[in-house]
Symmetry: D2
């Protein structure tokens, strides 16, 4: 099911006074996974932006299962589906040590070209086609 | 409907290379609003933690409507409801300039005491009662 | 001596597992103070960037005196001097409760226009003149 | 000269509206390198904290040479010296692509045990001895 995975390690400054990774940091992990996935498929988030094309998050859903702590290593996995004009990323983070699910997320993105919502973008469509194959 | 509001201003370091506030930063804004709301009702997130009581986010849902940019001021509002053992925060961020909705979020939290899920916590129950009155 | 001051409050997510504000977060506080100081003098960091003018930090020095904690309020103060081609910001953070010094910093910035180091920038020179008066 | 090195890659959310890594983020990179160096020598920052031992940054000096950008890979290197009661970390970040120096830092830390400044800590002393050998 998953089409891409990336390994990370918790950085101590990402933990808050509860001693666990702060909730908002998971969004950073998930974003970095999406951007690296795109890069691995020759799509650069930064280059797209410079061309006036922005992939923008429209909706975000996260269920927290097991908190990550200082020193934990984890694997961030994803696959992507098209739903109307939305590119929907399904992302799960697994703790490496025991493969326990830390977090499940559904990230709905849309493509905005020069400020206008767009139904599709050729480079992103290719990703979807590859995924279905 | 809203029981609490807090004013913020975007800090430049919160903007990313798209020139808008990075998605994960909104979670920080929302968390700070919840903690200040609790403090305004004499509940300290930090003190609770030191007593072994952690209010933990179990689920998070956000819909992004209008991006905030460098220099923008905004108002973060919330109200809270009980749903089973969950304390559910309903949070909306409004751009101050034109009162446009920037983001709507639903944040489901549970109370964990010494590592065990708990059905209710007296200080948080009081907030709910106040809200319903 | 100080020409500008700005009040802040610690946000819980800025504290790390030691229960104190993470070292790197102070740089954010200092940067925001500089940018607000510039804005108060009609200089926008973001607008300058869009015009190809970047004020870039070349050197940074910080001495940590008293750590800030969850709930602390503090005041960030600054003044600026010219030293050769450098605009040097002298910044101090005071805990509001007892006026104790939390941190002293010296931030050396240079102006880069379209990628080239520049000896001065009219809007920033005005700040220096105002300061000396 | 350097006793430890760690590879990183810039994450897009670490870049600000100038399109380069935000200044404060380098402090995160440097902190993570120090903590990983300690871990590689069986010293855990988190465990030390739980035992009442905190390694605290007292002074920080950074010279920015070449900005890192979206997609850049880099290598963070360090060595450590004792200076009075201070453990001084000398840290340099190199861009991987061309080995250009991005940043040089000198980080002076002291050891605080149960809130009191301490002249030395056995585990950290060992690091110094290893370094001199």
């Amino acid at each position: 099911m998953f089409k891409y995975e990336l390994e990370f390690k918790v950085h101590d400054y990402e933990c808050d006074l509860q001693g666990i990774v702060n909730n908002s940091v998971y969004q950073n992990y998930l974003e970095h996974t999406r951007h690296e996935y795109l890069l691995a498929n020759n799509v650069s988030f930064d280059l797209l932006h410079q061309q006036g094309v922005d992939a923008v998050v429209a909706r975000f859903e996260m269920a927290y299962k097991t908190p990550l702590r200082s020193g934990d290593e984890f694997i961030s996995k994803l696959y992507v589906r098209k739903d109307g004009i939305k590119y929907v990323f399904h992302q799960t983070i697994f703790r490496k040590e025991d493969n326990k699910v830390c977090l499940k997320a559904k990230v709905e993105t849309v493509v905005v070209i020069d400020g206008k919502l767009t139904a599709s973008h050729s480079q992103l469509e290719e990703l979807i086609i590859k995924t279905v194959e």
